[in-house]
């Protein structure tokens, strides 16, 4: 009974703590992407926090099988507790997860509020260093030009000076003064000499201010992990048919089947490593299905485009379940053989 209660309490704690932490981190991220030097934003925004809860809930449900497995590695339990684990996780992945993903449709999608750029600060933009001395948020758009609109619905005209940062020998390009020019046109010109890999690695579009983008663009490994964290959002974008539902719950099932690997090694740390790597592997492969990856373009293309009765990822997830089960059985029988 104590073990059953322990599993149940651990599950509830994981879901609640994961959701609250996720919402907090989401708010942090939203504040950082919305940062513009010289302006202010409110510390706490209820709509932002509510959006954070909605984003974090499916994430914590997806990771709950892994964390509960780690709990059970630490606290080896008898069969009733294990059954409770399977029941809880099955309900979570087959019922709660789809609902929480669907609930993302109800969020207003506010990641950050767009703000105009401010004056008086140096900003690196592409191959240029820009300094704005005048920002006019209320000017009319030039006819015939498509300008990026701020949230106020007006184009932003800027004046200032920009300096070429690389060693260009063309004198006319080294320093340029601009007056009353559209900000989006300036930015387009700043990046026109960027080569393909530079454009790919630039994460500044997410940020309102390039000053924050310079110091808050995540490293490569973390970028890949971000794709996993953002997966519920990508799933919600095309979650309509039975096939989508089956793809989602099959991923949940594959994550549940990581549990049998908890006895992979007699050294608990080794088993922990095995469980974490297996879960991350399942999540990474599934992320390729929902979002095109620059790191693995061929894999993304195969997963997304091969025509089958059900999505290819559904079959892959079932395959992962079988592999994990077989490995667990092999380990089990080897241990029994050693004991006898």
């Amino acid at each position: 009974m104590k073990q059953i209660l322990g599993v149940f309490s651990a599950f509830v704690f994981i879901i609640i703590a994961g959701t609250v932490c996720g919402a907090f981190i989401f708010n942090l991220y939203a504040q950082c992407t919305g940062y513009v030097a010289g302006t202010t934003v409110p510390l706490v925004s209820m709509p932002m926090f509510q959006t954070g809860i909605l984003y974090a809930l499916p994430f914590s449900i997806l990771f709950s099988p892994l964390f509960l497995t780690l709990y059970l590695i630490r606290h080896p339990s008898k069969m009733p507790a294990v059954i409770v684990f399977y029941v809880l996780e099955t309900i979570a992945c087959f019922i709660f997860l789809p609902f929480s993903v669907k609930a993302l449709d109800f969020s207003d999608g506010i990641i950050r509020e767009k703000k105009a750029v401010s004056t008086g600060y140096f900003r690196k933009s592409g191959n240029y260093l820009c300094f704005y001395t005048l920002v006019d948020e209320h000017s009319e758009a030039d006819s015939g030009k498509t300008d990026e609109r701020s949230s106020a619905g007006h184009s932003v005209k800027v004046s200032g000076v920009r300096f070429r940062l690389d060693e260009s020998s063309v004198d006319s390009k080294k320093i340029e003064i601009f007056e009353n020019v559209s900000e989006s046109l300036i930015k387009k010109e700043d990046f026109q000499d960027f080569d393909a890999s530079q454009k790919k690695n630039y994460g500044g579009e997410l940020f309102a201010d390039s000053l924050a983008a310079e110091v808050l663009t995540p490293p490569l490994l973390l970028k890949g992990f971000q794709e996993i964290l953002m997966m519920p959002v990508f799933i919600a974008e095309k979650f309509e048919s039975l096939a989508d539902y089956l793809a989602l719950v099959s991923m949940g099932l594959a994550l549940i089947f990581v549990y049998p690997l908890k006895n992979f090694s007699r050294w608990k740390l080794g088993s922990t490593l095995c469980a974490i790597l297996s879960s991350l592997f399942v999540l990474s492969v599934n992320a390729l299905n929902y979002r095109y990856s620059d790191l693995w373009p061929a894999a993304s293309a195969v997963l997304q485009k091969i025509p089958l009765p059900f999505p290819l990822i559904f079959y892959l997830n079932i395959f992962f379940c079988l592999v994990f089960a077989v490995v667990a059985l092999i380990v089990f029988f080897r241990r029994r053989g050693e004991l006898s």
């Binding site: 600060y121 140096f122 060693e167 003064i177 490994l221 080794g270 490593l273």
Partner: protein, 608 residues
Amino acid sequence: MKRGKIVTFVCIVFLLLVCFVWSYFYGHLPELLPHSVSYFKFLRGMSAFLKIFPAVLCTAFLVDFSVFFGRNDENSTQRFSAQMFVHYKKIVVTSLFYVFMMSMATLVFLPKVSRAIAYVQRQPDLFAMYFAMAKENKEQGRDLLAYRLMQLAAQINPNSAEVQTLKTKYEIESEHIVDSEALVEIPVEKIPFDEEISSSANCLELLQKAKKAFSEERWLDAHYYASMAVRIANPRDISRSDAEKTAAEAWRKISEIKYSGDFELASVFNRKMEGYNAYIRADYLESYYIFNELKILQRNPDPDVKRYLELSRKNLEKQYFFFDECEDLQRYETVSNLYFVIKHEDKSCEVYFAKGVTDLKKQGNLVRFLRDFSVTYFDGSGTFVKQLSVPYAKMLSVDSSFFNRSQREKWSLDNSETLQGFKYVPYILLSSVNRESNVGISKPAYKYATGREADAEESSYLVVPMNFADFGKIAEASNGAENMDLFSLMSFVRIASKYGYSTEVFNMILQEKILYPLSLLLLLLLFANMAWNYRISGNSLFKFKWTLFIPFFVPLVILFMQTTFFVIRQLCLVITYHAGAEFSLLLAISVEILFLVMLSVLFLSRKE
């Protein structure tokens, strides 16, 4: 525990080996100059090692304590047992040592290595630029400039035979240049700069010097001091008429030499008088070249030539610098793309930019050379006014009390809030000349807003209304906040927004660096908890095949550390944004100490 330390040592050595093997044999090489390839490979291997080192050390910590706790988990049947306190002490001691090693690697050695790599990678671009510009200037007939540029290219790439050949060719061709272009641009000063004339000298003092020189038959000096005495005398000064008489008498003596009949002596004398007259009317450039020419012609230059050449040079260097001072500078540039803004009370501003900065120590003073230097002026409404740009500018530190009232008003030395309480300001020379021969002045180019006329007299120098010491901090900040060391960050954060930098961003980086050791300690405590939870069983032997898990742990630990520090960085930015730079550090430290206490309590409450 000893075996664990051996495992840690082996992991580190293995990492070092892997990093250098990768760098030397497998890593893709960017475009580099041939002589820099080996050095670059070494730096790259070192950089990879320093980046991965913290993750490997944390993994070794985790594995080591997982095994140690497995062997020593008796007497831990209750929470907060004495055995757990003993383990905690061991963890803290080991953690502090590991934190020290990781902090040194990440905060001290890695930035130095990164800077060196950046410089080596820039070399091909710089070389190509100087080579192309040298050829371009040669085609346009600017032989001396072409030679200087080719010389710079040769210094960056000494192994290129083509460049060395061209350099020699340009050197020979540039020595035959004679240019008789008239020179202008003479700032008028009442008294030339002369160490023998104190700033508080009056007419009587200078008259006494003139009489002393007269008695020693130094006619030129006598005339010089007497002329200066007349220049600074008040109309009612009783010594003024005496000074005029002394000057006239000294001139008569000088004229006797002129008409002595010795042709050679007379021609040298005439030239000397031309130089002296140029000096007296404050045309220091002309007087410098004349006395320099006389020095070269005379095998033993007479004292007058030496003295007035030196005086001319000192006064000249207040207005211009020499082309050859820019030799070797590109190679020793310490800063690229330096930028800052000076904001005035009327909301007008000046935007300063230099492509490269080289620091030199000359006679105990710091001199800075600014490559591709420009200043862009905007008025109070943010509209462009004018811009000046120059290939090279020379910056010195000058005592702000040196300037008179009109100069202080012109350069806004009294109005600027950045200058209050500071003594030394940057003094930037914009025009340069050749040291040996008169080939013209290199002056700044001006660009004006449409409809605005060029100013009648544009100065050959600038005084920037800021503390000279701030310039050094800005130079470091231009390289990026992440490349600054702790002390530079601490002093720069307070002045960042004055010069167009974001206080929040720099404060965020500062906090992250200050909190880095504490954050590592938190991570290690977390790993200690994991090590206890997933320790090896008491009665099982550690199998060799389990060491195969270790390489798989490292990427996971890297990911975990990157995620943790990324969240900490965002937290630092948000705290700074809302709490301000003054309180944010205290708040961040408080949060981390809270987590430290929580993790410590969590560990001590562990039981079997």
